[in-house]
Symmetry: C3
Subunit: 349 residues, 3 copies
C-alpha cells in the first residue's frame, strides 16, 4: 500500500520523527493516526487564528516530550497518543482566558507556565486510564484533557495574574421557553460545520471543513461519521426547538461528532447493528452535552468533550454484553475501513 | 414447590413470555423477579394515576425490546433485568415535566420520543455496569436509570417544546433552622408508606401499601426490610428535626427502603452481622439523600435513587474485606429466604 | 533495629494493643504507622484545642472498634489503617458546625451520635476502595473520609438540631482580580506551617510544627517532603497572586503536603524521576484544591483532602505505564527510607 508507506515514512526518522509524532498527536484528537491529517487540521486552525495554531502545536510538543521524559510506551508516543490531550488543553486555557474567544489572545508569562504544567500533567495521567479501562478494551479518549481542564481552569478564579472575567461566568441554569425560534439556512450550515470546528474550540466554519478534509485523507467512513454526528445533533436540536445561537455555534454537534466517529467503525466494527448503536449514541450525546451544562452552570465551568467521553465509555463498556456488536481493541483500532477489512479476513478463515 | 412453578409458568411461553419479562421488569425495581409482584405493583401505580401506570408499562417494554434487539443475555432479559430502569425513567421524565407531579400529564409527541430514546439508552448501558462491577459480585442497581435521567432531564432546559418550568427549579441550598417542627401521626403514617411509594415517584400512601404487598408475595423478609428501611429513615429524620413536609412526602425513606432490601438478605445472607450492617446502611442512606440534594440544588437536578446506589455499592464492594458478612453473587440472588436456605445447605455439607 | 523494636512493642500487647492501634490510626492520616508519631500529633492537636484532641481520639476509637466488630483484616487494623478516616471525620464534623472554627465547640447529643455513625461508616467502606484499587497497587487514601463527610455534612442543612449557619455558606464562585496582594513574612511562615496543620483542620502554626516533628520521628524524608509540598504550594500561590488570607490559612498547602508525602518516597521509590514526578503532583494539587473549590462553592461544601486524593490516585494509577517510576505496593510501603533500602537490596541480588 503506497499511501500507507508515504504517510508512515517519517514515523521512525531520526530527526523528523518527533515532528511526525506531534502531527499525529493533533490528528489523534479526531482519532487520526496520520501526520498528514494532523498537518491539514493544524493548517485549518492557523487559518482561523495563528495564536490557536501556535499554542496547539506547543501543547502537543510539551505533552509528547513529557511522555518521552518518563519513558512511556514508545509505540504509543509515536502514534501521537500522548499528544492530543496537550493540543486541546493548550487551546482551551487560552480560549477561556482571552477577551475574544474566537481568535484568542497571546498568553502572558503566567499563563504560559500554567499551560506547560497542564500539558505535562495530561501526558502523565494517560496511562492511568489505560490501567483502569485497558482490561475492558476501552480507550481513555479525551478524559485526561477534560479532567485537567476542570482541575486547572477553576483555579484561575483565585489568581490576580490571569484574567478570566470575560470567559467564565457562573450563572443559574435558566429555562428556555417561548415560541420555537425561526431557524434559517445559516442555522443548518453553520451548525453542522462549526460542530466539527468546535472540537478544537474554533468558531470558524472554514476550519470545520478543513478538519473534515483532514479526517477524510485518512478515512472516508470516519469523515462521513463526523458529518453524520454533527448533522443529527443539529437536526434533533432544531426538532426540539433549541436556541438558534447555540446550534449555530456548533455546541450541540462537537461532542456528537466525536461519539459518531468512536462508535461508528473505530472501536466497533461497522455493521447494521453498530450503526443503529452509533445513532443512539449520537442522539444521547447531544442531550448529555446540554444536561451537563446545567450541572456545571452554577460553577461557571465548561462541558468540554465530557459528554462524548461519558457516553462513549458507557456504550463501549457495554459492548461485551451485546453480542450484536463486534469490538475492536484500542491497540488494533486504525480506521473503520481497516477494522472492517481485518474482521472480514478473520471471518473467511 | 408449587408456587414457584405457578409464578414461572409463563417465563418461557412463546406468546406470553414477553409480557412476563416486562412484569418482572417492573418487579425488579424492588428486586422482585416475579411477574405477580410486578403486576400488583403496576396495579398500585394505576390506582394512583393511569398516566404513570401506562408510561411505566411502556418504558419497561421499550427497554426490554431494546435488549432483545442487541441480542443481550436472554436469561437476564427474561428475569426483567433490562426492564426496570426503563420503568423508572419513563415515570421520571413525565413526573418532572408535568404541571402536577402527583398524577402526571400525558406526554406530548416530543416528550414521547424523548422517553423512547431514554428507555432504550438505559437498556443499552446495563452491561457496562456488569463489566465494571461484575467481577466484584456487585450489581449495577438503578444506576442506568439515575445516570440517564441526569443525562436527559437537564437538557430539557434548552428546548422550547417540553416545559419544565413547574418542576425543575435551581435554588441555593438553604439552612433549615428554628424550633423543631410539630410532628403528628400523619408524619409517621405518610412518611413510612409514601417512602415505599416514592420509589416509583407515587405521592400516594395506598400505592405504597400495594407495592409492599407486591413485594411480600415474593418475599416476606424483603417486605419487612423495605418497611424497616422506610421506618428507620422516618424515625431518625424526626429525631434530628427535619422538615415535616419532606418526611410526609416519603423523601427520606425511598432510598433507605431500597438499601434495606439490597443489604438485608438480598446480596448478603441475612445474619446478625449483616442485620447491623443493613441498619448502618439505612441510616447512612437517609443522610446521603439529604446531602446529595445540597450538591444538586444549584442545578435543579433531583437526587433520584442515587443515594441508595452509592451507599449500597460501597457497602457491597466492602463485603469481601469484612468476613463477618456472607456475599450472594447477583446472579444467584433470588430472595432473602432462598439465599439463606441455600447457604445453610452449603454449610451442612 | 532497636528503635523499631521500641515503637512496635505494644502492637500485639493484650491490654495496650488497642491504644497502640488508635495512635497509629492518628499517625496514618500522614502515612505514619508509628504510635509515637500518632501521640506527638495528638499532643499537637490538644495544644490547639482540647475539643479537637478529644474528638480526634474518639473518632479513631469508633472507626477501629467498628473494623474489629466486622472482623476486618487484623493486620490492617493493627497498622491503624481503619482508624485515620475516623480521626478526620470527627474533627471535620465538629469544625463545620462550630461557631468558632479555630477551637471548635463540644458537640451536642445529636451531633455526637451523628459522629458515631459517620466514623463507623468510614471504617466499613475502607475495604471497598481496596477491592477497586488494590489490584492496581493503589491505596484508598483519605477517600472514605472525604466521601463520608460530603455524604453527611450537606444533610445537616435539613435538620434543626444541629446548627451549620456559621460554617457552610453556599456562594457563587467569585473572580479575584485587582493588583497583586502585598505579601509579608507572615504569609510565608504561616502559609507553610499552617499548610501542615490544616491537614487536621488546625488553625495553629505551632500545631503544624508539632505534626512535622511527629512525622520526622518516623521518617525524615517524609517530613522533608511534607515541608516541600507546603512550601512549593505557597511559593506558586504567591507567584500567581492568590489571596493573602487563603495562603496564610494554609489552604493551598495541606493537600499539596499530602501529595508530596504519598508520591515522594512512600508509594514510589524515591529517585530523580519520581522527585520530578512529585513536584508536578504538588504543583497540580495546589491548583486542583482551588479549582474543586469553584465546583463546590454553589453548594457550600468544602474541598477537604479530595484534591490530594484525586491527583495522587491518577498519578499512582499511571505509574505502571511510566517505567522511569518504581512502584511500592501499599502493603509494603513503610517509610521512604525503608522502601529505598529494600529496593537497593533487591537490585544487588
Amino acid at each position: 500500500m503506497a499511501s500507507t508507506a508515504f504517510q508512515d515514512q517519517f514515523r521512525d526518522h531520526p530527526s523528523f520523527g518527533f515532528l511526525d509524532w506531534v502531527l499525529r498527536g493533533i490528528g489523534q484528537v479526531v482519532f487520526q493516526n496520520n501526520p498528514l491529517s494532523g498537518a491539514v487540521i493544524l493548517a485549518g486552525i492557523f487559518y482561523n487564528s495563528w495564536i490557536y495554531g501556535t499554542v496547539c502545536l506547543l501543547g502537543t510538543i510539551i505533552s509528547t516530550a513529557t511522555a518521552l521524559f518518563f519513558k512511556a510506551d514508545k509505540g504509543m508516543i509515536k502514534d501521537g497518543l500522548f499528544g492530543f490531550n496537550g493540543a486541546l488543553i493548550a487551546i482551551a486555557l487560552v480560549a477561556y482566558t482571552s477577551p475574544n474567544f474566537t481568535t484568542g489572545a497571546p498568553p502572558n508569562l503566567y499563563l504560559g507556565l500554567y499551560i506547560v504544567l497542564c500539558a505535562a500533567f495530561t501526558a502523565v495521567i494517560v496511562p492511568a486510564f489505560g490501567a483502569i479501562l485497558g482490561p475492558h478494551k476501552v480507550p481513555g479518549l479525551t478524559m485526561p484533557f477534560v479532567l485537567a481542564t476542570w482541575f486547572f481552569l477553576g483555579a484561575l478564579f483565585s489568581f490576580t495574574t490571569i484574567d478570566v472575567s470575560n470567559a467564565l461566568k457562573p450563572t443559574s441554569p435558566s429555562d428556555f421557553t417561548g415560541p420555537r425560534p425561526d431557524y434559517t439556512g445559516i442555522t443548518w450550515f453553520h451548525g453542522i460545520t462549526m460542530g466539527i470546528a468546535e472540537i478544537f474550540f474554533q468558531d470558524n466554519w472554514v476550519t470545520g471543513i478543513v478538519i473534515l478534509i483532514g479526517i477524510a485523507i485518512n478515512t472516508r467512513i470516519g469523515a462521513a461519521m463526523a458529518l453524520m454526528g454533527s448533522t443529527l445533533a443539529v437536526v434533533t436540536a432544531m426538532f426540539y426547538g433549541a436556541h438558534d445561537e447555540a446550534i449555530r455555534d456548533g455546541l450541540f454537534g462537537y461532542n456528537a461528532a466525536l461519539t459518531a466517529m468512536a462508535l461508528g467503525g473505530m472501536f466497533l466494527v461497522l455493521n447494521w447493528q453498530s450503526f443503529i448503536y452509533t445513532v443512539i449514541g449520537v442522539l444521547v450525546t447531544a442531550r448529555v452535552w446540554a444536561s451537563l451544562g446545567v450541572f456545571l452552570e452554577p460553577s461557571g465551568m465548561p462541558v468540554l468533550t465530557s459528554a462524548f467521553v461519558f457516553v462513549t465509555w458507557l456504550m463501549l463498556l457495554a459492548m461485551n454484553g451485546l453480542p450484536g456488536l463486534i469490538p475492536v481493541a484500542p491497540a488494533d483500532a486504525t480506521t473503520p475501513e481497516d477494522n472492517l477489512r481485518r474482521y472480514r479476513e478473520r471471518q473467511r478463515k
